[in-house]
Amino acid sequence: MALIDAEGVRKVYRMDGVTVEALKGVSFGINKGEFVAIMGPSGSGKSTLMHILGCLDVPTSGRYLLDGVDVGSLSRDGLAGIRNRKIGFVFQGFNLLQRMSALENVELPMLYGGVPSKERAEKALAALKTVGLEERKDHRPNQLSGGQQQRVAIARALVNDPPLILADEPTGNLDTKTSVEVMELLVSLNEEHDKTIVLVTHEPDIASFSKRIIRVLDGSISSDEAVIKHDGIA
């Protein structure tokens, strides 16, 4: 069943009188349970695509259905609600709130989802357990390593149990060893917890953890193929 259904998605920016067509009408679908990497050089439009997939932006024209909801017709409030319930973000820069403990950071999406405080704490702790950081729940982000911070961010992405996890260059700020750990965590979420994961990256090594790679070039999809797994990757 299709979780993401993009049809002729086009995005045009107007900057200082110059129109830039970042996406020239892309169409693709992603089913529930898939692990897809979106690749492309900078300026290819993959960031724009990520923003639209993440409901941070809406297409200029074309149609984007997420879990059956037409995102293009939603207000800012509506988009916020979709992001809250349907999407878990994992960013390159972790994007944790520095003043809050790991547990509180994980609780954040539930705060805007109206979850009662006791249930919030329980769910957040469970999510931290999934990423193996329950002992660090009271640590602030600056007391954690980069890999640990990214795992807290993954726990935050998981906590509302959204159908889609959107990871934007999740290993960009991490060393190779930690990158592998974080990718293995995403793989296990996909395989064991049946999460749909869309990964945006420009590193082939990282993309190879996924099962399908969509390549974007100049605002269009240049290739869309399954990853052939062979041993020895890592």
Partner: protein, 409 residues
């Protein structure tokens, strides 16, 4: 959707994280609210003092004094004519409907002796009406009665100061004192009144029946003469009617023709006091208004701090929006921050203002009065300032584009 309490907790925490900056923003409000409270306290203190003078003098009072005499072209000043009589007072009480109480007065200074002590004081011959007109009451014994006036009894009601000077702490009631060598029995002691509006000791006084004063104490050119008549009008509205009725009645009784001047003057003392009170109220308003300007400046300080804070926390706003905060959640968070800043400032400012007005009392002996309404006003105003000046930064924050906000370094 996020609860108010949750939002308030988050707001408090981010304020706490920037202690220095929050402190400075709060300081502006503290000074503003403190100034408003202290200034209003000073103004109210002044107006309360005047109010208490008015009430000790008695309210809605008219004072009738004889007119002037002219001797060889030289006019002698108010009260030099001897035209008022006890019968005028009785007639006013009977015939003027707007008048509730009348107190004729014949006064003079006399030496008073008790045992081996003596004291010089004002002795006023009057009637029972004095009590009601000038708000006197007795702390022990009784006041003069109609019976005393009718039979010219030699009884006296003495003020606290006189009681202390002659009797020390002993009970004067029932004792005999000599006023101008005439023996009087003390039948009552007046409740204390303190200083008058003009600084004289109102408790340094002796009341005797007016008829006794006329016959025994102060020689008068004609038997029933009084020096002045104090009159209490029924209420504040009827004071002018009372003035008219009294003037008409006395002109008739004194047989003054239509083209002749009055041989008496009716004075309205309350009016002067009320004018004074109005001017202090205007002053209170002015002081409050000036102080409010500093509260306004404090509000602008909050806006400034909040704008800086919104810019600095752009990334935080982006993160919150990405995980599902709606524009209104962001707006509420910053609005509550601004509100908390100003309300915390307001509470501290109330403490500062109270302290300041107490210091004015101690250092300069000013009378001040802090009313619950001024505290409520300052508190409410500071909350309003917070919301008003916090709205623009909060609105700005809520308009942010989550993509731009997440990119912000």
């Amino acid at each position: 959707m996020m609860g108010l309490l949750e939002t308030a907790k988050i707001s408090l925490r981010s304020l706490w994280a920037n202690k220095m900056r929050s402190g400075l923003a709060i300081l502006g409000v503290i000074i503003g609210v403190g100034a408003v409270i202290a200034m209003i306290a000073v103004g109210r203190g002044a107006s309360l003092q005047i109010e208490s003078h008015i009430s000790s003098m008695g309210s809605n009072i008219l004072i009738i004094v004889p007119g002037t005499t002219t001797s060889g072209g030289v006019r002698m000043g108010a009260g030099t004519q001897q035209s008022l009589s006890l019968d005028d007072a009785i007639a006013i009480e009977k015939e003027c409907s707007a008048v509730s109480h009348v107190s004729p007065e014949l006064s003079g200074v006399a030496q008073v002796v008790y045992g081996n002590r003596n004291w010089s004081t004002g002795v006023i011959g009057t009637t029972e009406g004095m009590m009601d007109v000038h708000n006197w009451s007795v702390s022990s014994g009784r006041f003069l009665t109609d019976q005393d006036v009718r039979s010219s009894t030699k009884v006296a009601v003495i003020g606290q100061t006189v009681a202390y000077e002659l009797f020390g702490n002993a009970n004067p009631v029932g004792e005999i004192i000599r006023i101008k060598k005439v023996p009087f029995q003390v039948v009552g002691v007046l409740a204390p009144k303190g200083q008058s509006a003009f600084g004289s000791d109102q408790d340094d006084v002796i009341f005797v029946p007016v008829t006794t004063a006329q016959k025994r104490l102060f020689g008068t050119p004609f038997p029933r003469m009084v020096r002045r008549i104090s009159v209490k009008a029924r209420d504040a509205e009827s004071i002018y009617l009372a003035q008219e009725q009294i003037t008409a009645l006395l002109r008739q009784r004194h047989r003054i023709g239509p083209n002749q001047d009055d041989d008496f003057t009716v004075r309205n003392l309350t009016q002067a006091m009320e004018a004074a009170q109005q001017s202090t109220q205007a002053m209170t308003l002015l002081l409050g208004a000036i102080a409010s300007v500093s509260l306004l400046v404090g509000g602008i300080g909050i806006m400034n701090i909040m704008l800086v804070s919104v810019t600095e926390r752009t990334r935080e706003i982006g993160i919150r929006m990405a995980v599902g905060a709606r524009p209104r959640d962001i707006r509420l968070q910053f609005l509550i921050e601004a509100f908390l800043l100003s309300v915390i400032g307001g509470i501290a400012g109330i403490a500062l203002g109270t302290l300041l007005s107490q210091m004015l009392v101690l250092l300069f002996n000013w009378s001040t009065s802090i009313s619950p309404s001024s505290i409520l006003l300052a508190f409410g105003f500071s909350g309003f300032v917070g919301v008003f000046f916090g709205f623009y930064p909060a609105y700005k924050a809520s308009l942010m584009d989550p993509i731009e906000a997440l990119r912000y370094e």
